[in-house]
């Protein structure tokens, strides 16, 4: 059998996952835990208590310099001018045709300093794009991905779990930390950052740690199993959790030929803020009418929709499933689909599963109402 794991990178927590009995799979160039015991069990633990996720594969890029704010305002779709120091926002970088190069989170660390979290599989592409576009600006762009490990702590008990590892002053700051805001912390030693955000639809935090501190913080969190119901969670449940919350997954739900207007993130696309890369294409798309829309759907018939399956309505092919799965908390199965705009307001569709038309219905996004705030 070919060794499909050869040549993949390992996070600083790799050996701890193996020791915990996790099933490891290649993902975005990394060898990552897909599940420790059961995807459904891990999913439930995050909805009801607390899960810890190794997301060290994510990329981190820092942009500093006197033009940093002006540069990122021009490079990204959201309004960087709205960020105060310590605040973050969901955003994306587009090509000139308005297609998504990546979706990302930008944190403003200081007047001339921004910290950007990008998808693992796009890290190199993003870094080169950002660096190449920065030539006419007085900024320094640094790929810090190798220095950082990242642990996501998600679920209703996440605040209590992390707080129990912090000194009183930091625990208080964490409690007051606003959604998408970030704070410095001494968790695990010097130099950690804790952001209140996540990819599950639950209250949660993402902790950036110098790679060397990650194993002891992971172990300390894992030891809270008895007290706060903390369980390690793999990529399998990460996917079902984010799908119920209708958070996009790059490469599945969107790519360089999908615009943010089609992908359903118009709320983060600030066309009126002024010039930015891809804006002209978005304006053209708006004036001629956005042709496709991202919708959520649930299955009426039996069957599990999967990425790439055709969507049919009135005998016509009208789109395709971008993400699909069982929906453990919502019940049944369903997902997201990129469909003809005429269907954006709802209706009955079919998903073609192995040649059979299976009934489904378009429903309001999200499938699971987030409890992040």
């Amino acid at each position: 059998m070919a060794d499909v794991t050869a040549g993949h990178r390992k996070t600083p927590l790799y050996s701890m996952h193996v020791q915990a009995g996790a099933k490891m799979v290649p993902f975005g160039g990394w060898l990552m835990p897909v599940s420790y015991s059961s995807v459904l069990g891990e999913h439930k633990a995050v909805r009801q208590a607390c899960g810890i996720f190794d997301v060290s594969h994510m990329g981190e890029i820092r942009v500093t310099g006197k033009d940093a704010a002006r540069f990122l305002q021009w490079l990204t779709i959201n309004d960087v001018a709205r960020l105060s120091a310590g605040a973050g926002q969901y955003s994306a970088i587009l090509n000139t045709a308005g297609g998504m190069i990546d979706d990302l989170i930008i944190y403003k660390m200081g007047e001339d300093e921004f910290f950007i979290c990008v998808n693992a599989s796009n890290r190199q592409k993003d870094f080169e794009w950002i660096r190449d576009k920065s030539r006419d600006f007085q900024v320094t762009v640094t790929d810090e991905s190798d220095q950082w490990a990242q642990i996501a702590v998600q679920g209703p008990h996440s605040l209590a779990a992390i707080s129990s590892l912090l000194q009183a002053d930091e625990a208080q700051s964490l409690k007051n930390l606003g959604y998408t805001h970030i704070m410095k912390s001494r968790l695990g030693g010097e130099g950690a950052l804790i952001a209140r955000t996540g990819y599950t639809g639950e209250l949660g935090f993402e902790i950036y740690l110098p790679a060397v501190s990650a194993p002891k913080v992971w172990a300390a969190l894992h030891e809270l199993a008895g007290k706060h119901g903390v369980v390690p969670v793999g990529l399998g449940a990460r996917d079902t959790l984010r799908l119920e919350a209708c958070y996009l997954l790059y490469g599945n739900d969107m790519n360089e030929s999908v615009s943010p207007l089609e992908a359903g993130i118009s709320w983060a696309t600030k066309i009126d803020k002024g010039e930015f890369v891809g804006r002209n294409a978005l304006i053209a798309q708006k004036s001629s009418g956005v042709k496709r829309r991202m919708v959520a759907f649930t299955m009426t018939d039996d069957g599990i929709p999967r990425h790439g399956l055709p969507i049919v309505a009135n005998g016509q092919r009208v789109g395709e499933v971008t993400s699909g799965s069982v929906l453990p908390t919502v019940g049944g199965s369903g997902g997201m689909a990129l469909v003809d705009s005429s269907l954006a307001d709802g209706g009955t569709i079919s998903v073609e599963i192995r040649g059979h038309q299976k009934l489904a219905k378009i429903v309001r996004r999200p499938l699971y109402a987030a409890r992040t705030k």
Binding site: S38, V39, L40, R306, V326, S333
Partner: protein, 126 residues
């Protein structure tokens, strides 16, 4: 992991229990473990005939879809419809209540071409 010695096995991880002209077909404990949480099983209707190696249905975990293959040629005589509403019951009970279909074998003697428990066990260790 257990592999009953009175059953026969395929390299596609199905088991078959042959009694006279009737075979009961399921998936092995190894397959179930590899799949993880089983969330959906799609089975044919009784009366359908298949050749050995034909796909007669699918089994789905949270992440993947796998085909189910006929260990031997035959006609489906019974289907375990209980799995439709409770696919998770395959976990831990794949050799008894986790059976998938019963078939009337075209040639019961073909069973000698399948793997026995020992051969299957060494196959999955390769």
């Amino acid at each position: 992991m257990e592999f009953p010695t009175n059953f026969k096995y395929t390299k596609d991880h199905e088991w078959i229990d042959v009694q006279g002209k009737t075979g009961t077909v399921g998936v092995t404990a190894y397959a179930v473990e590899q799949l993880g949480d089983i969330v959906f099983v799609d089975l044919p209707e009784a009366g359908k005939s298949y050749k050995a190696g034909d796909s007669f249905g699918t089994i789905e975990s949270t992440k993947t879809v796998s085909d189910l293959y006929m260990p031997l040629a035959g006609k489906v005589t019974a289907v375990n419809t209980a799995l439709k509403s409770a696919p998770e019951s395959l976990q831990g009970d794949t050799y008894k209540n986790g059976w998938l279909i019963k078939i009337e074998l075209d040639n019961p003697s073909d069973v000698s071409g399948l793997l026995d428990a020992k051969a299957y066990e060494s196959f999955i260790k390769e």
